[in-house]
Amino acid sequence: YSLSGSVWKKRTLTWSIRSFSQKSQLSPQIVRTLLSYALAVWAAESGLTFQEVNSQEEPDIIIHFARAYHQDSYPFDGAGGTLAHAFFPGEHPISGDTHFDDEETWTFGSTDDNGIDLFAVAVHEFGHALGLGHSSAPNSIMRPFYQGPVGDPATYRLPQDDRDGLQQLYGRVSQNPNARPTRKPLVPPPQPPAMPPDSPSTPVPDRCEGNFDAVANIRGEIFLFKGPWFWRLQPSGQLVSPRPAGLHRFWEGLPTHVKVIQAAYARPLDGRIILFSGPQFWVFQERQLEGAARPLVEFGLPPGEDVDAVFSWPHNGKTYLIRGQKYWRYDEVAARPDPGYPRPLSLWEGAPFAPDDVTISNTGDTYFFKGTHFWRFAEGSVKAESDSPQPIGPKWLDCPAPNSDPRVTSPPKTTSKTRSCDCHCELNQ
């Protein structure tokens, strides 16, 4: 490894993305999540923490996607060649800033050689932003030449050479497993005096029983809703608490008559969080309700219809709304339902009918949840992985394995393989 000779004196560094890629297939939401994971990689091996701040404040690390000459001494050169750079720590305004060439094809999890893996390059560049130079060690992330993707952002760990260099700069610490990505998670508000706190004796549902009403990926954290409660999983997969939080305590302004959230998703365009219940939905910015309840028909569903599941698919940026064995599609950019819907859910081969909800993991896969099981669809695929369904508990909620857990029922029926059938389902099946 090599050291730049400069280092941050503070241990909490702020960051902000000032400009996103204009042409990347990666949505701003995915870019933010990948960059927060890339920073978390360095936090995990040091005493550093990273906090994303909004644009008003002057952060330590300002991130830009830029092209050609962009007012610093490292003009980019179009696709290929130089990919990105970052400035070493210091007191100069540009210190720590990190620039990515917007003329590259930035990808995530791509298996072919097309494109440049954003997570891998971001980890490298943030190494510079912390004070590391290039390394000639064979497997170092700080090697100057692009070496391709480095695997799953949620489990990636720095190679030894880079850990050594980092600890020269910031001291030796044992790996901090809880270093969570810098995405500023939605933190609970100060308890409003009006509502009595949940006394520990208040009966709460058992997360290992599954049967969630809604599941949503909100800024890299997975929220699982059940009745007037919800659990949260941090991006690291850690449960914030085995005890669920109160729905109305957290989502400020949600009407008290709303007792169940039937579906939820985070809108990639503007980060708003949409909660659905009955024939209505509510829009939240952060945790605050924004405006009054809106009718579900705005998404193209027929009047009086409820919704089982809602998710935004990164593959095409469209929002999918599922009810029973049908689904509708909504174009967030045009702000109107797509024509030609509803369509049969069987187009999602292997998906369960009337799923409890659907969400996109931080690695870009699509997960259908129903009862105590989940079905995984690889990124961009509409065919369930062959090992689906799997029990939710052990994988997501730190619950005992199903064979020892009487609460786990057998997986429900799924959409048949795409073949015509004269099956006739009774109303109650």
Binding site: S2, G81, T82, G133, H134, P144, Q168
Partner: protein
């Protein structure tokens, strides 16, 4: 390499200078740039690239100079000195 093309050598020297393997050219204190110094610079670059350290501007080395990479120099320090920590 055997009598590499002048353009290739020129591009190579520019590349090596850009990424810190050679000190920036200085018309005032024009310093000799011995061939041996050039070969040493190429060897260090080959180490960073994980190539055989031949010190020659061979085809593989030239091809690597065109690969996608980070803009920052590999060798830090005014005169191309490498402040490296030997394990």
């Amino acid at each position: 390499a055997q009598n590499p093309d002048a353009k290739v050598v020129s591009m190579g020297v520019e590349w090596l200078t850009r990424y810190g393997y050679l000190p920036p050219a200085d018309p005032v204190h024009a310093q000799m740039q011995s061939l041996e110094k050039l070969q040493d610079a190429i060897k260090v670059m080959q180490r960073f690239a994980g190539l055989p350290e031949t010190g020659q501007m061979d085809p593989m080395t030239i091809k690597t100079m065109r690969k996608p990479r980070c803009s920052l120099p590999d060798v830090l320090g005014a005169a191309g000195l490498v402040r490296r920590r030997r394990r």
